[in-house]
């Protein structure tokens, strides 16, 4: 029997379970991603179900054995929360999907949790969507052990900001493309900016880093594409 009390965390996804309950997928500070059953929340009008929403800073308590403990208590962890709207909100869904797809249940990382928190609060500021997503993607892959090679090229030479590179997950940045492998062309400048977590200076850097991260993530996610990206494109790129 495990009993956890007032653990800081966020709801990242939920689905209906049996007739009146929900399975709440949460990302927590000290327990990583956990799935909890919120019993009876679909039928009762009282209680904490109104708090079970993505992007609200929560404190969660649960108890139980095995893979699916029961959520016993929820309260707000802070008086106010970022109020994501429009594009920023859909970027938030994208962050949540990355967490669902790339982290394992119970794989705790207070460090990644902190990055998630920071990403949510910068998304709340105007026009910070792209840089926030890129920074989070780089940090997340790094923490999960899939870090990109951004400071030295495939031959161990330091990255030259004025050089054009060709990036592949298994080779890192190469100065010449290897035939038969799909590389993402990326400038040294962009690689260094991503490495330092610097703001991406111009449209070219943003585009390069977007392509680079998309291809690296695709590699780690296997064949199944990210749903939230497809929806985002339908909503905002038409």
């Amino acid at each position: 029997m495990q009993r956890v009390s007032l653990q800081p965390g966020y709801v990242i996804h939920q689905r209906d379970f049996k007739d009146s309950s929900r399975i709440i997928e949460c990302y927590t500070q000290d327990y990583g991603r956990v799935a909890l059953v919120a019993k009876g929340v679909r039928s009762s009008k009282k209680g904490f179900q109104y708090l079970l929403q993505p992007f609200l800073p929560l404190k969660l308590s649960w108890a139980g054995r095995g893979e699916l403990p029961t959520l016993t208590h929820v309260e707000m962890n802070a008086a106010s929360s970022p109020h994501l709207q429009g594009k920023a909100l859909f970027c938030g869904f994208y962050l949540n999907e990355l967490i669902v797809r790339l982290t394992h249940r119970h794989d705790a990382s207070p460090e990644l949790y902190q990055c998630y928190l920071e990403a949510l609060s910068t998304l709340d500021q105007p026009d910070q969507e792209e840089p926030t997503l890129r920074r989070f993607e780089v940090q997340m892959l790094d923490i999960l052990g899939y870090g990109l090679q951004l400071e030295v090229d495939g031959n161990g030479e330091p990255i030259d900001p004025h050089q054009q590179y060709y990036y592949h997950v298994e080779t890192g940045p190469m100065t010449t493309p290897i035939p038969g492998i799909q590389h993402i062309p990326t400038s040294g400048e962009t690689l260094l900016a991503l490495s330092a977590g610097l703001p991406l200076a111009n449209e070219k850097q943003q585009q390069e880093s977007r392509r680079l991260m998309r291809s690296v993530l695709q590699f780690h996610l296997g064949g199944k594409p990210l749903q939230s990206r497809r929806v985002y494109q339908q909503l905002f790129k038409s």
Binding site: Y50, P54, S81, F90, Q234
Partner: protein
């Protein structure tokens, strides 16, 4: 439970929400022992409803006709469109004094589940709005994050087409005491305060 027909009936009843094997068995026995004519009537009504009910081409709610009674009612104001998530929301709103029309999304944007604009009929809605008859939309999606995301997107769509976009108010429920209301609802109510 070996007999084919009885077993089949019990298993079929299990498709109802909230009905497990035990209560399905109770229902089956009740119909067989006490109310065979009721059972036949139910079978006929189910058959007719499942065959005959489709969706209205205009508002996407359940309807036997291609255009439902509400949408073809000349007494209703064709220039106001209230947008809801589920057909059951129309029922909930039927007690409200509202003379316009409805549009049912049958869902909400839920990016992680792959539910995008096409899946909830937003292309159909956009066409409808572009026809020019609708002058005002009232957003009545749920007050969940997904409901808000959906509302935001539809609002942008409406504004681009020069349509008045309204949204139902969120705040203190009637009979509600402030100290028992959650802080999010309170801060919403505070932000959307109105002149007294």
């Amino acid at each position: 439970m070996e007999q084919g027909l009885l077993n089949n009936l019990v298993e079929s009843l299990c498709c109802l929400p909230g009905v497990g094997r035990k209560s399905a068995q109770r229902m089956a026995f009740h119909l067989l022992e006490r109310d065979r004519s009721g059972g036949l009537h139910l079978a006929e009504a189910l058959d007719k409803a499942m065959q005959g009910i489709g969706e209205c081409h205009l508002c996407r709610t359940f309807s036997e006709k291609t255009i439902c009674n509400r949408c073809s009612d000349p007494a209703r104001d064709q220039s106001i469109l209230c947008i809801v998530e589920m057909p059951s929301d129309i029922v909930a709103l039927s007690t409200v004094d509202y003379k316009g029309l409805f549009f049912v999304l049958k869902g909400r944007l839920s990016p992680i589940d792959g539910i995008g604009p096409h899946e909830i009929g937003l292309d159909i809605l956009e066409q409808r709005l572009a026809e020019g008859q609708v002058r005002e939309i009232i957003l009545a999606t749920n007050a969940t994050i997904e409901g808000q995301a959906t509302a935001h997107y539809i609002a942008e769509m409406g504004k681009k087409l020069g349509i008045d976009v309204m949204k139902i108010a969120q705040g203190v429920p009637l009979g509600g005491e402030l100290e028992y209301i959650d802080s999010n609802t309170l801060s919403h109510a505070f932000k959307s305060r109105v002149r007294y």
